[in-house]
């Protein structure tokens, strides 16, 4: 089968969905290819009620809290992604089987879902400073306009008056900030009381900018503070890429091909053939387009591109924010009540500008632990279950999870290689990720300074939990902007295949410590505009 279209977009995640919309609005005929797994069992079961109400009254709660197969009860030696609740587990469905990876100490989370990893995204939204964008390789003037466009499209709630605003979120068009929960309000109060000393030591704190609605927007409703955001998308308050795909369905020049596992492309002078396996029939199919836009995520865009270019076994870089989390006790909350009215996502963002690199901050996001069920906490305690349960009931309102991210830059110890494929299967990707000793030493020194700041806020970290090198689920830099084979032009075109563009984070040469998804979306609009201009259309 062969059909000519303007652009084949590969991947329906945050970058693919927004780029597809931009291209369709520019007048182009777009086909989006993805396996596009979706939740076919839990979404319709989820009541639009608060966690507290459901816990007390809902006879069906076991089905979505634990899952029909009890898949929500964690087992030992779990991989990255085990934190996904049953209604979110479709996000990683079939990835082990269809997206082969190998390597020591780097076990990435991948997705074949409609909306990609954005289907379970924590919604933290950050703009990068001009300096950070220059390090990435995005030097285009006017990039702020893309940030503003994404902000208005997806809805970001943020507080421009926060101490962190200039570094964390500076786009125009934000909605008013969301309400903080009881725990976070106390921590922010403590920050204000100790502000001078903390700021002198390079630490600032503010609300986490979130792609969660504080007001209704384009048919989506404001967050109801039901504390169900890890389980449910009721009211569509938290942005998910599938909302964009649904909106695209009304355009006659847009088509979504589901069940399509893209393997490779072949360019010629007139266009590009994209070859994919139709998972329903098992057959290989081909789709002809004038241009291809790879938005399959940094790892899978590299898998497709390097295999298509014949660059098997060549070392390409991989970037991934080093991440770990620290459970903290907040003694002032011990034995005290906390309001049930809250959202479940990141409440506060701390930024520590290290004295040795003030433009390269370490970030910490602070979460409460309320809606994830106590038995998962009991699992972590070296106590008999009855004692573990009592301890968690006593501590849960005073428990804060601090998720800490560092930036990442390429070096020869962090590589990805696409191996020659066997038969019609996708080629496997092999990772090596070994930071330099100096890098590790610096990170630990910065963490010590950060822990000091957390203590001044009244948080007592009592453990350091590191789920491995890939656990931030922030991947980038696999087809970096550069001059060589397997690299990209600054406008997103892939070297060696000028009709193929890369619209996700694969082109980035640096990964700031702040979350990347919001900037991925803005960058996808930028690349889509270049592509549209290349085809003589809009942009």
């Amino acid at each position: 089968m062969s059909r000519a279209i303007d652009v084949a977009v590969v991947g329906s995640g945050p970058s693919g969905s927004l780029a597809a919309e931009r291209l369709v609005e520019a007048g182009l005929r777009v086909t989006l290819l993805d396996v596009a797994h979706d939740d076919d069992q839990y979404r319709r079961l989820m009541p639009d009620r608060s966690f507290h109400e459901i816990r007390e009254r809902d006879e069906e709660q076991r089905r979505f809290f634990l899952g029909n197969e009890l898949e929500g009860v964690p087992r030992r030696n779990v991989r990255v992604g085990a934190q996904l609740t049953p209604p979110r587990q479709f996000v990683t469905r079939d990835t082990e089987r269809l997206l082969p990876v190998s390597g020591e100490g780097f076990d990435p989370m991948q997705s074949l879902a409609l909306g990609g990893l954005g289907a379970a995204w924590g919604a933290a939204s950050f703009t990068y400073t001009r300096g950070e964008r220059e390090r990435i390789g995005i030097e285009e003037p006017g990039f702020e306009a893309y940030y503003e466009a994404v902000t208005r499209r997806i809805g970001v709630s943020a507080d421009a008056a926060d101490d962190t605003a200039d570094v964390a979120f500076s786009a125009a068009g934000a909605l008013p900030p969301l309400e903080l929960d009881t725990l976070a309000r106390g921590i922010l109060r403590s920050y204000r009381e100790n502000r001078d000393g903390l700021v002198r030591n390079g630490f600032r704190l503010g609300r986490t900018p979130l792609a969660v609605l504080s007001r209704d927007l384009r048919g989506r409703l404001a967050n109801p503070y039901h504390d169900m955001d890890f389980w449910s998308d009721a009211r569509r308050s938290v942005f998910r890429p599938r909302y964009v795909i649904s909106a695209l369905a009304r355009w006659p020049r847009f088509e979504l091909v589901r069940g399509a596992l893209v393997r490779e492309f072949r360019s010629d002078d007139a266009g590009v053939d994209v070859r994919y396996r139709d998972l329903a029939s098992g057959e290989m199919r081909s789709l002809r387009a004038r241009r291809v836009l790879l938005c399959a995520g940094a790892i899978n865009s590299a898998r497709i591109a390097l295999h298509s270019l014949g660059l098997h076994d060549a070392a390409a870089p991989i970037l991934c924010n080093p991440y770990h989390y620290r459970p903290c006790l907040v003694p002032r909350m011990l034995g005290r009540a906390a309001a049930d009215r809250r959202h479940s996502l990141s409440q506060l963002l701390g930024l520590l500008a290290p004295s040795d690199a003030p433009d390269d901050p370490v970030s910490v996001q602070l979460y409460g632990y309320r809606s994830l069920l106590l038995f998962k906490l009991v699992k972590e305690l070296p106590l008999p279950p009855w004692a573990g349960l009592l301890v968690t009931r006593l501590l849960v309102n005073a428990l804060c999870i601090a998720g800490i991210h560092h930036s990442d830059a390429p070096h020869e110890g962090k590589t990805l290689r696409v191996l020659p494929p066997e038969g019609d299967a996708l080629p496997a990707v092999h990772f090596a990720y070994e930071p330099r000793a100096e890098e590790t030493r610096l990170r630990l020194a910065r963490e010590r300074a950060l822990v000091k700041a957390l203590r001044r806020l009244g948080l007592l970290p009592f453990a350091r939990i590191d789920a491995g090198a890939a656990s931030s689920i922030h991947y980038a830099g696999t087809l970096p902007i550069g001059e060589g084979p397997g690299e990209t032009h600054a406008d997103g075109r892939l070297r060696g295949a000028p009709r193929v563009y890369v619209g996700d984070s694969a082109g980035w040469r640096f990964l700031p410590a702040k979350g990347l998804t919001f900037t991925i979306m803005a960058n996808a609009l930028r690349v889509a505009d270049h592509l549209a201009r290349d085809l003589g259309s809009g942009g």
Binding site: R55, E56, R57, D58, E59, Q61, R62, F65, L66, L70, G72, V73, P74, R75, R76, P331, L334, G335, R336, A337, A338, L373, L374, F375, V378, K379, E380, L381, P382, L383, P384, P385, W386, A387, G388, L389, L390, V391, R393, L394, L395, V396, N397, A398
Partner: protein, 67 residues
């Protein structure tokens, strides 16, 4: 050693099923009786759990158990 003290999969599954039973929701609610009560309760639970902790440390895992 500490892993021996953590709940087994069977215990965890039982706890998960209890926690999602609305009739038992009260047994899983946060205890909010003030900081003094919380500190004392933590101390009492710690002491009361000691025999169970020792038993787990000294008893070999049952067959089919994953601990």
């Amino acid at each position: 050693m500490l892993e021996r003290l953590e709940p087994t999969e069977r215990e965890l599954r039982k706890l998960a099923l209890q926690e999602t039973d609305p009739a038992r929701a009260g047994r899983f609610a946060p205890i909010v009786r003030g900081p003094v009560f919380a500190v004392l309760a933590l101390a009492v639970v710690g002491v009361a759990a000691l025999p169970g902790i020792l038993r787990r440390l000294l008893t070999p895992p049952a067959q089919g158990d994953d601990t």
